[in-house]
């Protein structure tokens, strides 16, 4: 039976290992399964006004809390 001819076993086993454990897994891991898109809440998209996003020197020194 030609299946029992062990002279070719080394190359067959080597190519099977490379195929099964690297090539197939790399190819299958490229599949992307994105989640179904859901509507985002509009409130979360509110952006800050420019004077709310960065502290600016708009307060007079005497109106700051006394230290």
């Amino acid at each position: 039976m030609p299946q029992l001819d062990t002279s070719t076993w080394f190359i067959t086993v080597l190519s099977t290992i490379i195929t099964l454990f690297t090539l197939m897994q790399l190819k299958i891991s490229l599949h992307i399964f994105p989640q179904t898109p859901s509507a985002k809440s509009i409130e979360l998209m509110k952006t800050d006004n420019p004077w709310e996003s960065k502290w600016t020197k708009i307060y007079s020194p005497l109106s700051l809390p006394q230290q």
């Binding site: 039976m1 030609p2 299946q3 029992l4 001819d5 062990t6 070719t8 076993w9 190359i11 067959t12 086993v13 190519s15 099977t16 290992i17 490379i18 195929t19 099964l20 090539l23 197939m24 897994q25 790399l26 190819k27 299958i28 891991s29 490229l30 599949h31 992307i32 399964f33 994105p34």
Partner: protein, 226 residues
């Protein structure tokens, strides 16, 4: 006749170059990769198939067992595609070779068993002694359970090899008989042709079923050990 019958199972070499490497590396090249949300039919079909396999196979496992999902999906895709490609005429099927199947069965089985021994040592050793056995039978039963454990990878490999090889041999024999009978008596040839058609349908089913059975058993060994 013996030599001629098994000629299709010889590992193919072309002028001394082992082209069996290219044959085994063919199925991964049939898989597509796409970065789009919606791609063509071929890619969507593969995506649907992978999703079906994952849902069917990995539901019973714990999160630790589910880390094996990529391995099991690639296993079932590899065996299924090689078996189906082997049904084309004059092709070489790697899964008819004992070397390929042993190479698939032994590492996966050993991985599952070693995983079980590392993480659930007591439960893995408890598999050797089913509950409620009479005390006098214990030594013999442990020997039997050990043998049945070590025979699992052999059974996996030999089952796949024997099924696919036997199917291919039957197709060869009945196809040859039909060919010879057409010149001797056409009505008998039609009967054998119908048998051949039914056999080919069976072989399609066997190709897919064997892939499923192999992967299912590996997944079962994994479930026992996680």
């Amino acid at each position: 006749m013996n030599e001629n019958l098994f000629a299709s199972f010889v590992t193919p070499t072309m002028m001394g170059l082992p082209i069996v490497i290219l044959i085994i590396m063919l199925p991964p090249m049939l898989l597509t990769s796409s970065k789009r949300l919606i791609s063509n039919r071929f890619h969507s079909f593969q995506q649907w198939l992978i999703k079906l396999i994952i849902k069917q196979m990995m539901l019973i496992h714990s999160p630790k067992g589910r880390t094996w999902s990529l391995m099991l999906v690639s296993l079932i895709m590899f065996i299924g595609s090689t078996n189906l490609l082997g049904l084309l005429p004059h092709t070489f099927t790697p899964t008819t070779q004992l070397s390929t199947n042993l190479c698939m069965a032994i590492p996966l089985w050993a991985g599952a068993v070693i995983l079980g021994f590392r993480h659930k040592l007591k439960a893995s050793l408890a598999h050797f002694l089913p509950q409620g056995t009479p005390i006098s039978l214990i030594p013999m039963l442990i020997i039997i359970e050990t043998i049945s454990l070590f025979i699992q990878p052999m059974a996996l490999a030999v089952r796949l090899t024997a099924n696919i090889t036997a199917g291919h041999l039957l197709i060869h024999l009945i196809g040859g008989a039909t060919l010879v009978l057409t010149s001797i008596s056409p009505p008998t040839a039609t009967i054998t042709f119908i048998i051949l058609a039914l056999l080919t349908i069976l072989e399609f089913a066997v190709a897919l079923i064997q892939a499923y059975v192999f992967t299912l058993l590996v997944s079962l060994y994994l479930h026992d050990n996680t």
